[in-house]
């Protein structure tokens, strides 16, 4: 088929030069289907068409429902992001690049106090300053908002009280920045300073003045914002363990460290509609919040998402400064711009929660994991943000990829007088995952077995159910582990390297889209909708609300449309910036975009495809079932010379109708259990990953440098392998920051000591290891062409891999993150003293001598490998639920088989005494339960 088929007979163009090139500007309109300058149709790329439909692309994980729509055009090919040209030439318009005529500058007055009541604000001097055009305070916008409907606890500016240093008090708009800054000094405020709290452990105690008040749902008079209790399985299994690990962790808060500080422009247009320009990950929730706060219906607001200079979860809340820009603009009658300094970025925060995590885990005599007992106390800072969800994720996202005998989780999120924590890449799963994976390493050492084999022999198979009821579909965990083991030459390095050199393993498990949307009204509303339009020129305009935050969602949507319609990607134009033109999309969080948006885009494209094929049927007389789409041509399967060009078919389809229009939507299927909190962590698919990290530890200084990482991630199907590799390497960088050097430091006075990029230590290129990305493709049955997420999951395993590698290097387990040199050195010194060695350089390195259990594990994992293969390829479609490894029948309710099998979301009274740190939140009653007591 090389060379392809001519699409049009005869010479098709106008004048040609002597060298054969055509003369610009003197060409006839290109004939239909010529596709520009290429006269011949490209041959079908059989290497990119799956085996199941006659191509050569291998499918070890079996066929996929979307295989029929593969045309070999784009899917699976490394593709530079389609917005990269705009970015590398400096033409992408980020928040600060928007310039509207008559724009004025807004500045925010921030609280100098940790916690204080505002008794009065006098703005008269501010208003009198020449050049000041608008002033606003909390009184201008009393309505509350918040990203989660259940915890709307934020105001545009403080109403009644401020909750942390840097909290918004008032704002002012002036003709220039200098005037606005001068104006900030003219506010006269009377404060009543309150006693702040900074230690989340104190947040569990009753206070005179809790930071927020939740009415009848308030837990005592504490600062507990959310508490969670979950218990599943047979707790008796944890008795008499063969190995156990008990670790108490302290993890510092970290920030996303995105490049672009927040920047917003608000503008009320001549028709009285608000045009708000903002780099948002989740424009739709900002849209809803703006409507609430401004008391303007949503259709009178147009949210324009600018290019986003990195988000990582840090731009997914509706933000008070967005409200401020709108309020000031409404007052001043001119567009108002508010740009943040880096310090303001840290004050609005929403980074990863500082956490106290305690993990107890046990293994039985067959090295099965008989129990996880997790307690997570997380420091929410001043506001709820995503915290309700984070409180669940810290526990429930640890229920896979391993099969567990029992699972017990207590979690609490407390308010403190610090900048609010929120969602950050790997939301809620990162810290606990690290604790759990390090615990597994410790148990492996106690049992003297290889930690990779311990994992391989305890994995849940594909198409199974976790202990808490999550539906696992595709699962590439085993392959990921096997490939990093091979790539890193693990078997010749682990526990065999000299002091100071170490290697470690860590795994990850993450959601690919959240099963329930945050806002579920109106009922049964889709999670993602994509509109598509093709006019007579043949170009495809795709309207989506998906927010490209650099992860490449725009490219992914263009790629799947290109693939289905067999059009070059240059013909696909994605419009995603304005809420006026984009269908509602829930935004870029929970790693949902590729999965949900690309699925919606495929559906929209299939609708168009059907219309084109029907037109071709009419023209050719062949039924669509025997027609093939390839490179701007539709032809008869058995005689490619018989066909029509894409434009001919398109124009036929457009007769009497005009442009072709379609709409596709995605909503995840109903799934999961019915217990309280069952929806948290539910996802239509899950990603899996395994990393091996190699480190050098300077035993005299405690400096850790990570030198090599082998990073395997199961993303289902890499729609764009280049983007997936970029996500893996970027995740490594981000996770390394958290494990080695990044922390938000709150000093003894509770002030954030390092709100700048010099002292908040994001690793530089010198600290980056060599990363070998390994893509595992398990072909998810519901993912678009089999794809799952690759944006967040790859961050998880790097933390435990490094911590475990440090143990391999120096024989010390450290449970304080980050592993800054002082922390490591302190641990080394303690060990040196304990062992009575004089020099650090004489410390012994840990070694491994396999016990008898090792053979058991190897045999079991070989058996499970075959089991997994059969389930993955649907040769075995029997039910599999967590518990089968312990001998239970998956077809009977576990409660009926085991006495003591629990599924509980509240502690029973006799448990209260033995709960962990966060569990102590359950010692208090909610206000509504106390009413009777008084």
């Amino acid at each position: 088929m090389a060379g392809g088929y001519r699409q049009q007979p005869g010479a098709s163009s106008g004048e040609t030069r002597k060298d054969g090139k055509r003369v610009a500007g003197k060409q006839k309109f290109p004939p239909p289907g010529s596709g520009g300058s290429r006269p011949n149709m490209a041959p079908r790329d059989l290497d990119s068409i799956p085996e199941s439909v006659g191509g050569k692309e291998p499918q070890p994980a079996g066929s996929h429902i979307h295989d029929r729509y593969r045309t070999g055009t784009e899917v699976g090919k490394p593709r530079a992001l389609i917005d990269s040209h705009a970015k590398v030439t400096g033409q992408a318009w980020y928040g600060d690049d928007v310039r509207l005529p008559n724009e004025i500058i807004g500045k925010i007055l921030r609280s100098p106090h940790h916690y204080a009541k505002i008794k009065s604000i006098d703005t008269s001097k501010v208003e009198a300053l020449p050049g000041v055009l608008a002033v606003a305070t909390g009184a201008d916008a009393p309505n509350t908002f918040g990203v989660l409907p259940v915890t709307k606890d934020e105001h545009a500016m403080a109403v009644e009280k401020v909750r942390h240093v840097g909290d918004l008090v008032a704002c002012v708009a002036a003709v220039d920045e200098a005037t606005a800054m001068e104006a900030l000094n003219l506010f006269e405020i009377e404060w009543e300073v309150l006693d702040p709290i900074f230690d989340p452990r104190k947040g569990l105690e009753d206070q005179d003045e809790p930071i927020h008040w939740r009415g009848k749902y308030h837990v005592g008079t504490t600062n507990v914002q959310k508490r969670v209790f979950q218990e599943f399985g047979d707790r008796s299994l944890v008795e008499d363990p063969t190995a156990s690990s008990h670790g108490k962790w302290r993890m510092e808060g970290v920030h996303h460290g995105f490049t672009e500080p927040h920047a917003v422009v608000g503008h009320w247009d001549p028709n009285g509609r608000l045009q708000l320009y903002t780099p948002q990950q989740v424009p739709h929730y900002a849209h809803r919040a703006l409507s609430t706060v401004l008391e303007v219906p949503m259709h009178q607001i147009n949210v324009i998402r600018t290019f986003v200079g990195g988000g990582f979860g840090g731009k997914s809340d509706p933000f008070p400064h967005e409200m401020c820009a709108a309020i000031l603009s409404r007052k001043a009658g001119r567009p108002v711009r508010i740009n943040f300094t880096r310090e303001e970025v840290y004050w609005i925060n929403r980074g990863r929660h500082p956490s106290y995590i305690e993990v107890k885990m046990t293994a039985d005599d067959e090295a099965r994991i008989s129990g996880f007992d997790i307690d997570a106390l997380i420091d929410g800072g001043g506001f709820a943000s995503f915290g309700h969800v984070t409180s669940y994720y810290n526990g429930v996202l640890a229920t896979a990829p391993y099969e567990l005998g029992s699972f017990h989780y207590t979690g609490a999120r407390v308010w403190t007088n610090k900048p609010a924590s929120g969602a950050m890449r790997g939301h809620g799963a990162v810290n606990t995952r690290c604790a759990v994976e390090v615990g597994l390493d410790e148990m492996a050492e106690q049992m003297q077995v290889d930690p990779i084999d311990l994992r391989l022999a305890n994995l849940l198979p594909p198409h199974s159910r976790t202990i808490s009821g999550f539906r696992i579909t595709s699962n590439g965990m085993r392959e990921a582990l096997e490939r990093v083991r091979e790539g890193s030459e693990w078997d010749s390095k682990f526990r065999q390297m000299p002091l100071g050199k170490g290697i470690g393993i860590g795994c990850g498990f993450f959601i690919s889209g959240s099963g329930l949307p945050i806002h579920w009204d109106p009922n049964r509303f889709p999670h993602a909708t994509v509109h598509m339009q093709i006019d007579m020129d043949g170009g495809v305009t795709v309207h989506t609300g998906a927010a490209d935050i650099g992860q490449g969602s725009t490219t992914a949507v263009a790629q799947v449309v290109s693939e289905v319609l067999a059009l070059p990607i240059e013909m696909i134009h994605v419009r995603s910036h304005e809420s006026d033109t984009s269908p509602v999309d829930l935004g870029s969080y929970s790693s949902r975009v590729t999965f949900m948006n690309a699925n919606a885009a495929i559906r929209a494209a299939l609708d168009i495809r059907e219309k084109l094929l029907n037109a071709a049927w009419e023209m050719l007389g062949y039924h669509p079932d025997v027609l093939v789409l390839n490179d701007r041509r539709i032809y008869y399967k058995h005689d490619p010379a018989v066909g029509v060009s894409y434009l001919e078919a398109l124009h036929k389809a457009q007769e009497d109708k005009g442009s072709l229009i379609s709409s596709g939507a995605y909503r995840s299927p109903p799934m999961g259990g019915v217990h309280k909190g069952a929806a948290a962590g539910l996802a239509p698919a899950y990603s899996f990953s395994a990393y091996v990290a190699e480190v050098d530890v300077d035993v005299e200084t405690g400096l850790v440098s990570c030198t090599n990482v082998w990073a395997a991630h199961d993303c289902g199907k890499a729609l764009n392998p280049l983007a997936v590799k970029g996500q893996i390497i970027g995740s490594c960088h981000m996770g390394l920051g958290q494990v080695l050097s990044e922390k938000m430091v709150y000093g003894r006075t509770g002030h954030l000591q390092n709100p700048n990029l010099l002292e908040y230590k994001i690793p530089s290129i010198h600290e980056m290891p060599h990363v070998t990305p390994i893509i595992v493709e398990s072909s998810d049955p519901e993912g678009p062409f089999g794809a799952k997420e690759a944006g967040e999951g790859p961050l998880l395993p790097i933390l435990p891999a490094v911590v475990n590698a440090v143990y391999d290097a120096i024989g010390v387990r450290i449970r304080d993150l980050p592993l800054t040199p002082d922390v490591v050195w302190k641990a080394i010194s303690a060990k040196t003293k304990a062992l009575g060695v004089i020099e650090e350089t004489e410390l012994p390195s840990p070694r491994l001598e396999h016990s008898a259990l090792q053979a058991t594990l190897v045999a079991r994992s070989a058996e499970h490998k075959e089991r997994d293969r059969r389930r993955q390829r649907s040769e075995d479609t029997g039910a599999y639920v967590n518990g089968v490894l312990f001998g239970f029948d998956p077809n009977q309710p576990l409660e009926d088989q085991v006495e003591g099998w629990r599924s509980a979301v509240e502690p029973v009274p006799e448990q209260l005494a033995e709960l962990g740190l966060a569990g102590k939140a359950w010692l208090k009653k909610e206000q509504r339960q106390m009413e009777g007591d008084q």
């Binding site: 600060d96 921030r110 609280s111 100098p112 106090h113 240093v165 840097g166 920045e177 200098a178 800054m181 500080p261 740009n339 943040f340 300094t341 310090e343 005299e700 200084t701 405690g702 050097s741 000093g747 006075t749 002030h751 000591q753 390092n754 709100p755 010099l758 002292e759 230590k761 690793p763 530089s764 290129i765 010198h766 600290e767 800054t820 040199p821 002082d822 050195w825 302190k826």
Partner: protein, 326 residues
């Protein structure tokens, strides 16, 4: 994005012109700062720290950027020092460890010597400092206490984090100063003065023109060891330089930086040993030097750790100049 506060920038073209400008401002009681590369001063200005009405730039003054074994001009760029074949290798090595290559292209020797002392209670924005009610180093007229060691209110304990000073000390450099009252020379060892506010011996209106080194400096073997979290950007959390003329124990010099308000020559600690300098002396020397310094909690890493690390840095630096494998 941060707005630079307004100031008047002056560009004298000769040393004399610069001194004249300074005298005029002094006579009129108008405040001013010198600026060389600006990589230290201007970020502080953006944070509204000690902003002056006038800034006199030394950038247009000819002939104060010489680079040779025995003389380095104040305006010599650190980037040029790192690539120069003619400066002492210890200077080139220490300069190469300052901040990042972009900053080194602008930063100067004079600026690095005169680096303002640093403290995480001080190097913050105006809003931030207001939230702690200011501090002793920049009290904004409130008479505020030191935030690192409260209730003393006499000394500023901000930390000097220049990278080059200890190397200049162990190469026995001399700083040449000029000002309205004429020229003077000060050994680098004596240039720095307590505390974090006083910083050094420069009088108002004076600035550094060059640093010179004695004959024979080329025979010295030196080493600078810097402790930092990241291999780029970061200021030293501790730094040790040492040098000697191989075989001559009396020539051994050791100096440290980033531990206290001023960099320190450790001559008295070195002199407390009468033995010949050999590998055996490295451990006891490092112990004594460690005991002599008292870092405080105002940089990224805790003071106890930084103190302990001095021992390691001294050991490594000495092992290097003595030719031991590190």
């Amino acid at each position: 994005m941060m707005l630079m506060p307004p100031f008047n920038l002056h560009h004298p073209e000769t040393v004399e012109e610069a001194c004249e400008l300074a005298s005029t401002f002094l006579a009129n009681e108008e405040s001013f700062d010198w600026v060389a590369g600006g990589t230290d001063l201007l970020p502080n200005y953006k944070w509204h720290i000690n902003v002056k009405k006038h800034v006199i730039s030394l950038a247009n003054i000819q002939g104060i950027d010489a680079i040779s074994m025995h003389e380095i001009g104040a305006m010599a760029r650190l980037g040029a020092l790192t690539t120069s074949d003619s400066v002492h290798p210890l200077i080139a090595s220490a300069a190469s460890k300052v901040a990042s290559s972009l900053i080194r292209n602008n930063a100067t020797l004079g600026g690095n010597i005169c680096l303002d002392t640093r403290c995480f209670w001080f190097n913050q924005s105006e809003d931030w400092r207001r939230s702690i009610d200011w501090c002793h180093k920049e009290d904004c007229g409130t008479g505020s206490d030191c935030r690192v060691i409260p209730n003393q209110n006499t000394l500023c304990v901000a930390t000097y984090q220049g990278d080059l000073a200890p190397s200049l000390m162990v190469l026995e450099g001399t700083i040449h100063i000029i000002g309205p009252n004429g020229q003077r020379e000060v050994p680098v060892d004596d240039f720095f003065q307590l505390d974090g506010i006083t910083r050094n011996v420069l009088e108002q209106g004076e600035f550094i023109v060059k640093v010179t080194f004695p004959e024979g400096v080329e025979n010295r073997v030196g080493s600078y060891k810097k402790l930092r979290v990241r291999e780029s950007w970061d200021f030293p959390e501790a730094g040790v330089a040492s040098s000697w003329i191989v075989g001559d124990s009396s020539s051994l010099r050791i100096a440290s930086t980033a531990l206290e308000s001023i960099p320190r020559s450790h001559q008295s600690e070195v002199d407390s040993f009468e033995e010949t300098f050999s590998s055996d002396l490295i451990n006891p020397l490092s112990e004594v030097i460690m005991k002599s310094i008292k870092p405080v909690n105002n940089t990224a890493l805790p003071p106890r750790y930084r103190k302990s690390m001095i021992r390691v840095l001294v050991k490594r630096s000495l092992r290097e100049i003595i030719g031991d494998k590190v």
